[in-house]
């Protein structure tokens, strides 16, 4: 029990007044207006970033990072899919290395024959469809056997 009962009552009254008045004052303050008046750029200019960086122990932060976990989370296949192999071969020495190591006369001839064959197949197929008048119908035809087409389709 307090030795001064009047003092206690005054203290409780002050506490109760404060609880009622402070929210009213806070509500009355227009924070946006105050922020508008504050020049953030000036504050930022005063901040010495280098000093902050010097105080930070980067090594300690790096030590805390679990690189293995990050690597496990990264989808390497997705990254590899994004690489434009064609341009990589075109723009680097990789192209001439592949050319020197794998290109033989027979391989070159086979590459040309096969690609030309596909082109001619398409040509004949288009003309046959034109002659048979079924160009629209052909659009819905399967490109290949289900097992092979499903394998060739990109992963979702």
């Amino acid at each position: 029990m307090s030795p001064n009962p009047i003092g206690n009552k005054v203290e409780q009254l002050a506490q109760s007044l404060a609880e009622h008045i402070v929210p009213l004052i806070v509500d009355a303050i227009n924070i946006d207006a105050i922020l508008d008046k504050v020049d953030i750029n000036q504050i930022v200019e005063r901040v010495d970033v280098n000093e902050i960086v010097e105080r930070v122990d980067i090594q300690k932060i790096i030590d805390r990072v679990d690189v293995q976990e990050i690597i496990e989370r990264v989808d390497i296949n997705a990254i590899v899919d994004k690489i434009d192999i064609d341009s990589l071969v075109e723009q680097t020495e990789l192209g001439s290395i592949i050319a020197r190591s794998t290109t033989g006369v027979l391989t070159e001839v086979l590459d040309v024959i096969r690609a030309q064959g596909v082109g001619l197949d398409d040509f004949i197929f288009r003309w046959c469809n034109l002659l048979l008048g079924r160009r629209k119908k052909v659009a819905g035809w399967p490109a290949g056997p289900p097992l092979l087409i499903a394998k060739a389709a990109p992963a979702p």
């Binding site: 075109e90 192209g95 001439s96 290109t103 086979l110 024959i113 399967p142 056997p145 087409i149």
Partner: protein, 185 residues
């Protein structure tokens, strides 16, 4: 040396596993007829030489039409059936980058290889080649022998590697030319 333009991925990589068209299949068949006929002729010549060496008498299989026909038929049957059963492709198909698969796209069985070869004979001689028209009008581009054996023919060559080689050649040619010029200086 002229540079062949790099074919689009749609015509190379994008086509693998798709049903093969008439020109590639006809070219592969022509190559197979040539290869099998060449091997048969070589075999018959070797057989004649061996017979002459052993018996001292000259013998030519082509002088005996019926045995020659039977041997040739058997040889052609073996040529196609064995290769289809073992790898799903003949020599000609390997050159053109084609593969025989089941209707679903899996590897074919020996039984299907036998049916396909018998079906090939039926398509060639009984329908006088009309059975091949399925390659251009059937929705899975299957000829009569494919329908008999439950098979289909698809493109199956390493198009990705071919495309890289193509690009590499295109890239390597100017540097080779500039190197030659440097040596010329």
């Amino acid at each position: 040396m002229t540079t062949v333009p790099v074919p689009s991925p749609a015509l190379t990589v994008g086509r693998q596993g798709n049903y093969a068209g008439a020109v590639s299949r006809l070219a592969a068949f022509a190559a197979d007829v040539g290869a099998s006929w060449g091997l048969y002729t070589l075999g018959v010549a070797m057989l004649n030489a061996a017979f002459k060496l052993v018996s001292g008498h000259s013998f030519s299989l082509s002088n005996h039409q019926l045995p020659a026909f039977i041997v040739l038929t058997l040889w052609e049957f073996l040529y196609f059936t064995y290769q289809w059963a073992v790898s799903g492709k003949t020599l000609g198909m390997a050159v053109l980058g084609l593969q025989v698969v089941t209707k679903q796209g899996g590897p074919i069985s020996g039984r299907q290889a036998v049916f396909r070869t018998v079906g090939l004979g039926i398509t060639l001689f009984l329908t006088l080649g009309i059975g091949f028209l399925g390659i251009v009008y059937q929705h899975e581009r299957r000829a009569l022998n494919d329908l008999i054996a439950g098979t289909a023919v698809v493109y199956d060559w390493d198009a990705r590697a071919a495309r890289l080689r193509w690009i590499a050649r295109k890239e390597a040619q100017p540097s080779a030319a500039s190197s030659a010029r440097r040596h010329g200086d």
